[in-house]
Amino acid sequence: MSDVAQQVPLVNYLVLGETPHLVAHECTACGARYFDRRNACASCFKTEFHEVDIPNEGTLRAFTIVSQAGPGIKVPFVAGVVDCGGTSVRGNIINTEPDPEHVTLGMAVRLATYSMGTDDNGTEAIGFGYEPA
């Protein structure tokens, strides 16, 4: 047993460590990027992919402030699409008030992580979102 608590990312495309960041599978032929696995590239149908890091800084291209959601989901929260150096990323806008005065189209944001809690084995889950830069 280690004394250091284990951490696990909310999703497998979030890489933890000193500088948490997202990774994507990039088609080696056309450069299309996917956060999940593909049998062939949806854009060019080639089948070879390699892993690439996604920049942590971006601009907010679209958002909504969700006031009504499914059971167990805390509202309100801001859902958005962030343009990270040409790669579109889906994520929540965090560490700011969820209202149209604090969240605006085109605002600069950067990746931020947070603790989601610890499970019965002492493993801590780490989530991510984007905060105003």
Partner: protein
């Protein structure tokens, strides 16, 4: 029989949209079918193919409906294509007639959706595990919805409208509310609509917020309803009565597209490219342009969606959707009336019925049978639906010359 080029709507009907607590899915669909057959002046004996759509029932809706209205042993296609299901059913019947498999086809879409609540939110909450085990396509250790964006339909389509605003500017909470005000105003003339009360933009903005900037009246109304249509080949139509020929409406274009790959489409569904592609194909097939249209019924599942489809359907120049709306053009007394039925926000959106009900609306105007809300002298109309995933159906309809 051989392949044919001309397809006509011979008869069409939609039920009242709203709450039908005493009618089940099969009752509603059968009601629309019986009325569409009567409108066409034919019986099930004349029908050579039947396509039916229903998303929330138990499956096999086509065969269940036959048992209500006439079992003749013809091929039945049960289709499912999200909010484009009705248009897909119609197009399935059209393709069979066009291919020469038969000379008359029937399509029906039906849904019981009153009180369905928030679509896309999922029925069962995913309880966060006591042990974090990665699972699913993203190796997630907990539910993603609400932590990484939103899956709710109002939230997804809110972002679609906001993205347009980011790209071209000019959008605001008030603008989207005014689009909704237009449709709620239009439905006051539609006795078959779920809601028939006018609402001011201020009332709409002060209503319950669902997903900014969409408040409740800016979201499509969950309701019960059905619609059905009979299609016929041009050759067969010539053998029918002069009255049937006079009332028939020509299907000048029938198009179905799916979403081609776009950079951001895995993050936010791209409802634009497939609609633009479908519109281009439809205008080419019909030999008309947006300037020839007398009315449009487009898929305003949310106020934020209506805006982008002005642009996607070419009703304005690229990036000009805000100006198009603010010019007053899409109001019923404007240059190009859009959603004079009240649209999905006010007429309602019984999912599988929508893609035939919007064609019924256009046909009523082209046949000059639309009563108080008739658009005078309407000769050409366009009906558009989009289902997330995605599927887009566009039909262009023209008044009979007979």
């Amino acid at each position: 029989m051989s392949a044919t080029d001309e397809i006509w709507i011979l008869g069409i009907n939609m039920t009242k949209f709203g709450k039908h607590p005493d009618l089940d899915t099969v009752d509603l669909g059968a009601q629309a079918i019986m009325a569409a057959l009567a409108d066409a002046g034919v019986t099930m004996a004349d029908i050579g193919v039947f396509a039916a759509g229903n998303l929330l029932g138990g499956g096999g809706i086509g065969q269940q409906l036959q048992k209500q209205v006439g079992q003749t042993g013809i091929p039945v296609y049960n289709v499912s294509n999200a909010c484009a299901t009705g248009a897909t059913a119609l197009r399935t019947a059209i393709m069979a007639v066009k291919a020469g498999e038969c000379d008359m086809g029937l399509a029906c879409g039906v849904e019981k959706l009153a009180g369905a609540g928030l679509l896309g939110a999922g029925g069962v909450p995913r309880s966060d595990a006591k042990v974090y085990n990665p699972s699913g396509r993203y190796g997630a250790v907990a539910g993603i919805d609400g932590r990484i964006g939103t899956n709710t339909m109002p939230g997804v389509f809110a972002q679609v409208g906001m993205e347009y605003g980011h790209k071209y500017g000019g959008t605001s909470f008030e603008l989207f509310a005014k689009i909704s005000e237009k449709n709620h105003s239009h439905s006051t003339l539609n006795p078959l609509a779920t809601y028939t009360k006018a609402m001011s933009a201020e009332q709409i903005m002060n209503d319950v917020m669902i997903a900014y900037p969409n408040t409740r009246p800016m979201c499509s109304a969950n309701c019960d309803g059905a619609a059905a249509a009979v299609v016929v080949s041009g050759e067969k139509l010539k053998t029918l009565s002069l009255e049937q020929q006079r009332r028939a409406v020509k299907v000048s274009a029938s198009v179905l597209t799916s979403d081609p790959w776009q950079e951001a489409c895995q993050v936010l569904p791209d409802v634009n490219t497939l609609t633009k592609n479908a519109a281009k194909q439809a205008y080419e097939q019909a030999g008309v342009g947006p300037e020839d249209l007398d009315l449009v019924e487009l898929h305003d599942c949310f106020a934020t969606a209506e805006l982008v489809h002005y642009d996607n359907l070419g009703l304005c120049e690229e990036g000009g959707a805000v100006d198009f709306f603010q010019s007053g053009a899409p109001w019923r007394d404007g240059r190009l009336p859009v959603n004079v039925s009240g649209g999905l926000q006010s007429k309602g959106h019984p999912i599988s019925a929508t893609g035939i009900a919007n064609i019924w609306e256009v046909c009523q105007h082209l046949r000059n049978e639309c009563g108080d809300r008739q658009i005078e002298g309407a000769k050409v109309g366009l009906a558009h639906v989009i289902g997330l995933g995605s599927a887009c159906g566009i039909h262009i309809l023209e008044k009979s010359a007979a």
